[in-house]
């Protein structure tokens, strides 16, 4: 594999609340340029925490106790604010989870879409406007003039998410962090959005970290996947490998637990409790 | 029908709600500070004849315009100095507290009573009752309060009673709005629906179910209103429309002191400071009550 564009090394974090519970235990992962990496886990597994740590927006209740986050060789944790401010929003951007709350209800779409273009690329209003129209076309939004003039509440959830995706790709970033961007959408819209993201990613050659709890999503668009449980990495590798020949029992159970839309009467097989408990003990041993 | 209330069935076991609230109250510093100051003021006002060093009405032109104790030319027994008629400022200040507190407590209580009653009615019956009362509130609030109070006192004639009546007549709207909103919100609650299903008459429900839940917000508002009442009384006596001119009032002292402010600033400053401290105390108390009794803010 070529030199990774992003390396997270032995990242550990604890919660400030209550009993100082470990949130992340020695998490390591690599992201190659132009690849889509799935960051998978159930709720509380720590995948959102990893993403937030990467972006530097961890809540005050969580502290990082060790580890490095290397972007193009530089540790984001130790860089001065001025330099990280230059990176985020430009070389590293975010597609947020909830399109309902991620757009400012009092600003028009055009303003929010062209922020980065005008701030970072020094475009004037006309240039930014033209580029914004191009971006909207890329995410398959027709009637782009009207959308630019609109306010967020005038657009559907799917449209808003497309706008957010367009905004994330606007500055040709090297890495995009997608934090469960389809969770808040209708199932029918989800597939479209996922396909769109894959298209954009291939067209622009961007590396994407896709945070999700859904293995189905991973199967659809991720090249490689890293599986988290209770803050520790359980398994990691190429998607096809992991899904066809999972090494860990938990992974197997997760795959088996996915609903089979082709066999609706097959029923659901949740991950067995005993397995989860056993895994917990194993993981906590690792953390110590 | 037994003397029951649906909410008491649903109330948690353990220390009663009242004692829990009392404890929350005493833990809030603003309540202690504000309440303590007010208590001290009440004591001072009650025992004025024994606490005040001189008779507040005694004039002695030989001792007129003396500065407060400690400054050059002062008479040691006149701690805050004297006014242009030789009256002891401190004693007048102490007696002035009486008027201030009487007005505060009575006026605020009356305003609360009237406002709460109308608020309960408006919030419970809604429909045309609410329409009528809300329209009344709108009309009332279209008047500048100070102007209306001056007008009312002019109509009713000078005196403590008029001042109290004027304040109550003007400020009931404040309570009405809050109680109306609370009542409307509470009327949707499950335990009220339960009470109605059991068949309790509206008056019973209002008194036993809704009113007790409105009381915490009311208490804070009453404290605030007392502070406002003290100010309105001061304004009225400043303009010369309150009690007769021999009874000392803080507002009256301020007005008198204003005339000779350059020569005898203490006559102006002392009652102003007293006024300020009293209003602050009522505000802190009200603020503390609101925090201590608000179920949302409580940890």
């Amino acid at each position: 594999m070529t030199a990774p564009i992003l390396s997270i090394l032995r990242l550990s974090a604890v919660s400030e609340l209550g009993n100082a519970e470990p949130i992340l235990r020695n998490v390591s992962l690599d992201l190659a340029p132009s690849e889509t990496l799935g960051l998978v886990g159930g709720s509380g597994a720590g995948k959102s925490t990893v993403a937030k740590a990467l972006l530097g927006v961890l809540p005050r209740t969580i502290t990082i106790t060790q580890g490095e986050i290397l972007f193009e060789g530089r540790d984001l944790r130790t860089l001065p604010r001025r330099e990280t401010r230059a990176i985020f929003g430009d070389a590293i951007t975010l597609v947020p989870q909830d399109p309902m709350t991620a757009l400012n209800p009092s600003r028009r779409i055009e303003a929010q879409l062209t922020d980065g273009l005008r701030l970072r690329r020094g475009m004037n209003a006309r240039e930014a406007h033209k580029r914004a129209l191009e971006l909207l076309a890329e995410v398959h939004i027709r009637d782009s003039e009207r959308v630019l003039r609109a306010y967020p509440h005038q657009l559907s959830g799917g449209m808003r998410q497309r706008v957010l995706i367009a905004a994330a790709f606007a500055l040709e970033p090297k890495i995009i962090v997608a934090d469960e961007p389809t969770t808040a959408l209708d199932v029918t819209v989800q597939k479209q959005i996922l396909r769109l993201m894959r298209q954009m990613q291939e067209a622009h050659g961007t590396a994407v970290i896709f945070v999700t709890h859904d293995l189905g999503v991973v199967a659809q668009i991720c090249d490689r996947v890293t599986l988290l449980f209770a803050g520790a990495v359980i398994e990691s590798g190429a998607t096809t490998d992991i899904l066809s020949a999972p090494r860990h029992a938990y992974t197997r159970a997760l795959i088996a637990a996915g609903p089979r839309y082709d066999r609706p009467d097959a029923g659901l097989k949740p991950v067995p409790e005993a397995l989860v408990a056993e895994l917990r003990l194993e993981v906590e041993g690792v953390g110590r | 029908m037994t003397d029951a209330s649906a909410s008491s069935f649903l109330a948690a076991s353990g220390p009663s709600l009242a004692s829990r609230r009392l404890r929350a109250l005493l833990a809030e510093p603003k309540v202690i500070i504000g309440g303590g100051l007010i208590l001290a003021l009440i004591v001072i006002a009650l025992f004025a004849p024994w606490i005040a060093p001189k008779n507040p009405l005694d004039q002695d032109l030989m001792l007129a315009s003396l500065p407060p104790a400690g400054l050059a030319g002062a008479e040691p027994s006149y701690y805050f100095g004297t006014d242009d008629l030789g009256r002891d400022v401190l004693s007048r200040l102490i007696y002035g507290a009486r008027i201030a507190l009487i007005v505060a407590f009575v006026a605020a209580s009356l305003a609360a009573l009237a406002g709460t009653t109308l608020g309960l009615l408006a919030g419970w019956y809604r429909g045309w009752v609410d329409g009528l009362i809300s329209r009344l509130v709108d009309i009332w609030m279209a008047f500048p309060p100070v102007l209306l109070s001056i007008l009312l006192v002019a109509v009713l004639g000078a005196g403590v009673g008029s001042v109290i009546a004027a304040i109550a007549i003007i400020d009931w709207t404040r309570f009405c709005r809050v109680v109306r909103a609370e009542t409307m919100a509470q009327a949707e609650a499950d335990y009220v629906t339960a009470a109605r299903a059991i068949g309790f008459p509206p008056f019973h429900i209002l008194m036993r179910e809704i009113l007790p839940n409105v009381v915490p917000a009311l208490l804070a508002l009453v404290s605030l209103e007392m502070g406002i009442a003290v100010i309105v009384e001061a304004i009225l006596s400043f303009v010369g429309l309150s009690v007769s001119s021999d009874t000392p009032t803080w507002g009256g002292m301020i007005a008198e002191g204003r005339q000779f402010i350059h020569q005898t600033w203490w006559v102006f400053a002392a009652p102003l400071a007293a006024l300020f401290a009293t209003v602050l105390a009522f505000n802190q108390l009200g603020d503390g009550l609101r925090r201590a009794l608000d179920p949302v803010l409580r940890r």
Partner: protein, 335 residues
């Protein structure tokens, strides 16, 4: 439809206004002390007294008096002032601009100072400065305009006699002003000597009226700003690399103004009501000062006119606030 909403509001306003007029009318007729009796000279005949009574519209039953008054009022005739012997409407027209200037100045002061304090407070979020700002704000909130005015009189009258304590303008300076709107006129005619004299006289009353409102605005706006800053879109904007100040001003502020206006709009009507006593304390020649005199003199027609003017201002302010709240909420605009 916006037009329909406005129409509805105006109708409600009219009803309220009518209610105010009726209340004042009834109230004043209950006044002990016959203003006519105070005006007549001894030895006046019954006919003279009756004529005087009729002239001031004080004869006939309560009902007929009100009907007469309404008929004249709709024509713009509010009668003659008993104490000042001049047309009520003219008197109001003379004094109202001064009060409007004062109220506007106080409002501007409150918005600027309160707004700046709120923004500073929001930027100091979760630092040591925040509880300090909150505590000071809490203290200032408790001080009403009356106390501010008196404290200012004490400070600037005794301690630092820098500013004039009474009046609106030095008459020797303002000679030559043609309209009662001194402020605007002096600027337009570039009479800066008048302008600065006006400012000097406006300073203390403006502070007294504006500081309580500033404290309220600071408290409410800061709360609204903090709430906006906690939203997801601010996080996204922060990741785009915006500075904290830019975040507050560009992203949070426009979402915070609506809720702030809704809560502070009514405070502005308190400010207007406060002009009554503040103008008295600073001997400022506006309608507030005139109102107190009118009440003391039992000048019924004048009181009537004054109360109506205040009521109209209150109602207009309320409508304006509602309109502004809708303006700042795009969802309401398109609804």
């Amino acid at each position: 439809m916006i037009a329909l909403a406005i129409l509805r509001r105006l109708l409600v306003a009219l009803v309220t206004l009518a209610g105010v007029a009726i209340v004042v009318f009834v109230l004043l007729r209950v006044v002990p002390g016959d203003p006519i009796a105070m005006m007549i000279s001894p030895g006046a005949s019954q006919a003279d007294i009756a004529a005087l009574r009729a002239h001031y519209g004080l004869d006939g039953s309560l009902f007929s008096q009100f009907a007469v008054w309404v008929r004249y009022a709709l024509r713009g005739d509010f009668g003659t002032s008993i104490s000042l012997h001049r047309d009520v409407l003219a008197l109001l027209g003379e004094r109202l601009p001064a009060t409007l200037e004062l109220a506007t100045a106080a409002l501007e002061f409150a918005v600027i100072v309160g707004g700046a304090a709120a923004i500073a407070g929001a930027m100091a979020r979760r630092t040591w400065a925040e509880p300090v700002i909150d505590a000071v704000n809490g203290l200032l909130l408790a001080i009403p305009d009356f106390v501010w005015a008196l404290a200012l009189v004490l400070v600037f009258g005794v301690v630092w006699p820098l500013l004039p304590l009474t009046g609106r303008v030095d008459p020797s300076v303002s000679a030559g002003m043609t309209t009662p709107f001194y402020f605007v006129e002096s600027l337009l005619r570039l009479r800066f000597d008048v302008f600065f004299d006006l400012l000097k006289h406006l300073a203390l009353p403006t502070l007294a009226l504006g500081l309580p409102l500033a404290a309220v605005i600071a408290r409410v706006l800061k709360g609204a700003l903090n709430e906006a800053m906690a939203q997801d879109y601010v996080l996204l904007a922060r990741l785009k690399g915006m500075s904290e100040l830019r975040l507050v001003l560009q992203e949070a502020l426009r979402n915070a103004i609506g809720p702030t206006l809704a809560l502070t709009g009514v405070q502005f009507t308190f400010l207007i009501g406060g002009t009554v006593i503040i103008e008295r304390i600073f001997a400022y020649p506006g309608i507030g000062n005139m109102a107190i005199e009118a009440v003391i003199n039992r000048d019924l027609p004048l009181i009537q006119g004054l109360v109506l003017v205040f009521a109209v201002i209150f109602i207009l302010v309320n409508i304006a606030v509602d309109f502004l709240v809708a303006l700042f909420n795009p969802k309401l605009r398109h609804a």
